[in-house]
Symmetry: C2
Subunit: 249 residues, 2 copies
């Protein structure tokens, strides 16, 4: 990765830094970020996740992490998931997972910098950065401070989601962050009763969006009850639907 | 409302200011904010919506608004929807609805203040404020600058959404904003083929959450293809599912 001048902690050797962004909340960005990390870990890579959603962090819950990180003179050690993914998130530092973090932009930017410069990620092949919704302080800080190789875009089928996701795509283009691909999540739902494929949010136009912005189309993920329930139980590492995606990172 | 000292434009007479918040993106906060406005307008009240989601604004698209607001020496006139709801949003000031607004906290806070102090809302019974996800600059500024009568909380059935929504509830409590009630959105989906009620996101526990925080439970909204498709077509005023909610404002 192009990390001259944008170095993290001196003990870190992070080969690739990938952001996962959507602009629109609730499309499944954290879920897809988690699934990408699981997919890369399963291929034998050393993987970490930096949760840059400081006021709405979901990553620790998806992985069922309760233990606080070790904070030492040398730096902060990330928490390892069951399968060995290194994770850092503000929710690992709070007393209760549902405590609010009521901070303005400058503090949020500062914490993201600390997660890059003070966390001892060690040797990683991939660091996945989960971005919050919007195009404000957090994505701006990540794009200015971290040596990003690129960003994966997540959307859902609704036009409304697509409109806001296009804002994130245009932001990445303005900030000269390469776009690695786009995933359509919650694309269809199989009725557990009659087995028919249903489209609760209508048929998505993400393939067209991928063509419009010349982005690789990484595929679609179904809306599956097991994805949200395994996530709620902290067992996102048991979800296998990432196999449906064409992940050429 | 308690608007001494927190006055907006001197031409404004806004009786009640209500925030709609969730903390978690994608649960349907903008949709519920729009439906509350439609419900109050149908009862004969004068209603406005202030879209405080500056980097991810959805309100103009839901109402099919394309016209820019009139900006005069006197102040900014909001745009009226088909049924007469007064609306102000950053997306009404952009050239293209999918252009990104890449601003940090202080600018975002400034714009929200302008939407309250420089927009000529006139005589309104209710001003609904649609908040972005998170517990950062935008909700903080709204809670500090606007004379809020209270906030309506929106969640969806997943535990993960509930965890982040609790952060928003605790923020409102810390900021002494009264909580008017909680709505569970996307609660169930009726299979168009076999007619069975399905629970794509599992069965929600919002009633328990309402009891835990002593909030009025305003009811559930189904996940309906017509809700997202009418929203995508700019026809949110034709959605009638708000009738399912117990709206005691
Ligand atoms: N493909 C899917 N099927 C079912 N539920 C999903 C899927 N993707 C995400 N979810 C659920 O939807 C909610 C929002 O997903 P999340 O990853 O938190 O989105 P975001 O990070 O974009 O806000 C979570 O409760 C998650 O478990
Ligand atoms: N009850 C519902 N049924 C179907 N689609 C819905 C429902 N509520 C919201 N949506 C759709 O889900 C997406 C997210 O809703 P939105 O109101 O933008 O959420 P938020 O403001 O919390 O991000 C939108 O595309 C919207 O049309
Ligand atoms: Zn069926």
């Amino acid at each position: 990765s192009c990390s001259e001048g944008k170095n993290g902690h001196q003990l870190n050797e992070v080969k690739h830094v990938l952001a996962v962004m959507s602009g629109k909340g609730g499309v499944g960005k954290s879920t897809v970020a988690a699934l990408l990390a699981v997919a890369l870990q399963k291929k034998g890579y050393q993987v970490g996740i930096l949760d840059a959603d400081i006021t709405g962090p979901s990553i620790p819950k998806l992985f069922g992490l309760k233990k606080a990180p070790d904070v030492t003179e040398l730096g902060i050690f990330p928490v390892k998931s069951k399968t060995g993914i290194a994770i850092m998130s503000i929710n690992l530092l709070l007393e209760h997972e549902d405590d609010p973090v009521i901070w303005r932009g400058p503090v949020i930017a500062g914490v993201i910098k600390q997660f890059w410069e003070e966390v001892i990620w060690g040797n990683l092949d991939y660091l996945i950065v989960d971005l919050p919704p919007g195009t404000g302080d957090a994505p701006l800080t990540v794009m200015q401070v971290l040596p990003l190789d690129g960003a994966v875009i997540v959307t859902s089928p609704q036009d409304l989601a697509g409109m806001v996701v296009k804002k994130a795509i245009k932001m990445a283009q303005k900030m000269e962050v390469p776009l690695l691909g786009i995933v359509e999540n919650m694309s269809y739902f199989e009725c557990p009763d009659c087995g028919k494929n249903l489209y609760p949010f209508g048929k998505g136009k993400t393939k067209l969006m991928a063509q419009e912005f010349a982005l690789p189309f990484m595929g679609v993920l179904p809306l599956e009850t097991s994805t949200s329930s395994l996530g709620d139980q902290g067992k996102i590492e048991e979800v296998t639907s990432y196999e449906l995606l064409k992940v050429n990172l």
